[in-house]
């Protein structure tokens, strides 16, 4: 297969970075959701 090393490196790096980033995002979203709950906003308004 031609240029297999480049293809495989790019695939592993590309999918790895994408997966890790999205995983970090899920953690970030969970943290934000924990810090700012919608119920608190409601009670603050009333």
């Amino acid at each position: 297969m031609r240029d297999l090393a480049f293809g495989l490196t790019t695939t592993v790096a590309g999918m790895g970075v994408t997966l890790v980033t999205l995983f970090l995002l899920t953690l970030l979203i969970r943290l934000l959701n924990r810090l700012f709950r919608p119920d608190e906003e409601k009670s603050a308004k009333t």
Binding site: M1, R2, D3, L4, F6, G7, L8, T9, T10, T11, A13, G14, M15, V17, T18, L19, V20, T21, L22, F23, L24, L25, T26, L28, I29, R30, L32, N33, F36, R37, P38, E40, E41
Partner: protein, 378 residues
């Protein structure tokens, strides 16, 4: 005297080549598809008209005609990569990250939908250079602006073919995805009901997300910052609630004007001499492979998640982890309801779909970073 007059009047006809005539006919077909069949008219009308204008002999309207009107637009918007970035401002102002913020687990599907890009890259490397194969593979992102962004930077000679393929296949998502989804899942799996409860998300989370998440992603993959930054800017305009006029303009006027100019100049870059080649067919073929592989891997990861969660996740949602927003999510909803009329997957699929939008920019950013630091010839 009369001879001079007649010959100058006939110049247009005498300079018309069969290749230009064929491309003008193709432009006509694109206009027909847009007007009579209603297929992606916002894109196909400017592209189709651009093809006709660009192939008119002596019209000075091809994207490559130095100093011509469309050449100026092409140089200013495509070669500088400004158009894709501006489109992302509009997309950001249109996207609602709410479903994804309420159920962040579906974000993982946004990565599953990018496998097609890299598997197609491996295939493309057998026929093309690294830069060309990478540009073609990004068609698998199912994201026109991202494909144009990467291609305009590394393989400009393929720009017309890649952009037409990317936008055509995006519009074909409702046709391409369902057979693959049905082939890879059982009816029992497709009928799984995922609990539908529109979880509330704090307004503060919606406002903070584009800033905090945007900075995090741009630090991880700075090469994609022009796209990610603009996407998050557009979303912040919408969610902040203090610049309603800017959000409205971005999601309507701005994105429409840029789409018109982008389509026109891409169309005018499709010239008989450079478009009617075997390479173009190969680009379309590999683009199709990329999009099908995205769906395959998305559904397979969905099946894996289904097994891990003991049947709580419908594998069809995995097919929505692409950037074809919101077409993929709609297809998932439709297929889910075909298998089980009580099933309502749209909320989850929209979350996966927005994850796909982010995942595609991340995947493209990594490609850009690698290509910028390696010899391009391959």
């Amino acid at each position: 005297m009369w001879e001079t007059v007649l010959s100058s009047l006939a110049q247009g006809f005498t300079h018309l080549t069969w290749q230009s005539a064929l491309l003008m006919a193709l432009g006509g077909v694109l206009l027909y598809l847009a007007v009579a069949r209603g297929i992606e008219p916002l894109l196909l009308v400017p592209i189709g008209f651009g093809v006709i204008l660009g192939n008119l002999p002596l019209g000075n309207l091809a994207a490559s005609d130095t100093g011509g009107v469309i050449n100026v637009i092409y140089n200013a918007g495509i070669l500088t990569e400004i158009f894709p970035a501006l489109i992302f401002v509009g997309l950001g102002a249109m996207i609602d990250f709410g479903p994804m913020l309420a159920n962040p687990t579906v974000l993982i599907f946004g990565a599953a939908g990018q496998f097609g890009i890299f598997l197609t890259l491996l295939l493309g490397l057998q026929f093309f250079t690294r830069a060309q194969a990478s540009s073609i593979a990004v068609i698998g992102a199912m994201d026109g602006p991202t494909a144009i962004y990467v291609t305009s930077r590394f393989a400009r000679e393929l720009l017309p073919a890649v952009s037409i393929a990317a936008y055509s296949y995006m519009s074909l998502v409702p046709v391409l995805q369902p057979p693959i989804m049905r082939a890879l899942t059982t009816k029992k799996e497709r009928a799984i009901v995922m609990p539908y409860g529109e979880k509330k998300v704090s307004k503060k989370v919606k406002v903070l997300f584009p800033v905090v998440a945007g900075v995090l992603m741009m630090l991880i993959a700075p090469m994609g910052a022009p796209l990610m930054g603009m996407l998050m800017l557009g979303n912040f305009l919408k969610e902040s609630g203090v610049v309603g006029r800017l959000a409205d303009v971005s999601s309507t006027v701005l994105i429409n004007i840029v789409t018109l100019l982008l389509g026109l100049s891409i169309g005018a870059a499709m010239l008989g001499g450079n478009f009617l080649q075997v390479t173009t067919l190969a680009v379309f073929g590999l683009g199709l492979v990329a999009i099908c592989l995205d769906t395959v891997t998305g559904v397979l990861i969905g099946k894996l998640m289904c097994a891990v969660t003991r049947g709580r996740i419908n594998p069809l949602v995995g097919a929505a982890g692409t950037s074809a927003f919101p077409m993929s999510a709609r297809v998932v909803q439709k297929e889910g309801q075909k298998a089980n009329p009580r099933s309502f997957l749209l909320w989850h699929a929209i979350g996966a779909n927005t994850g796909g939008q982010i995942g595609s920019v991340m995947a493209a950013s990594v490609l850009l970073a690698i290509l910028s630091n390696t010899p391009l010839a391959g």
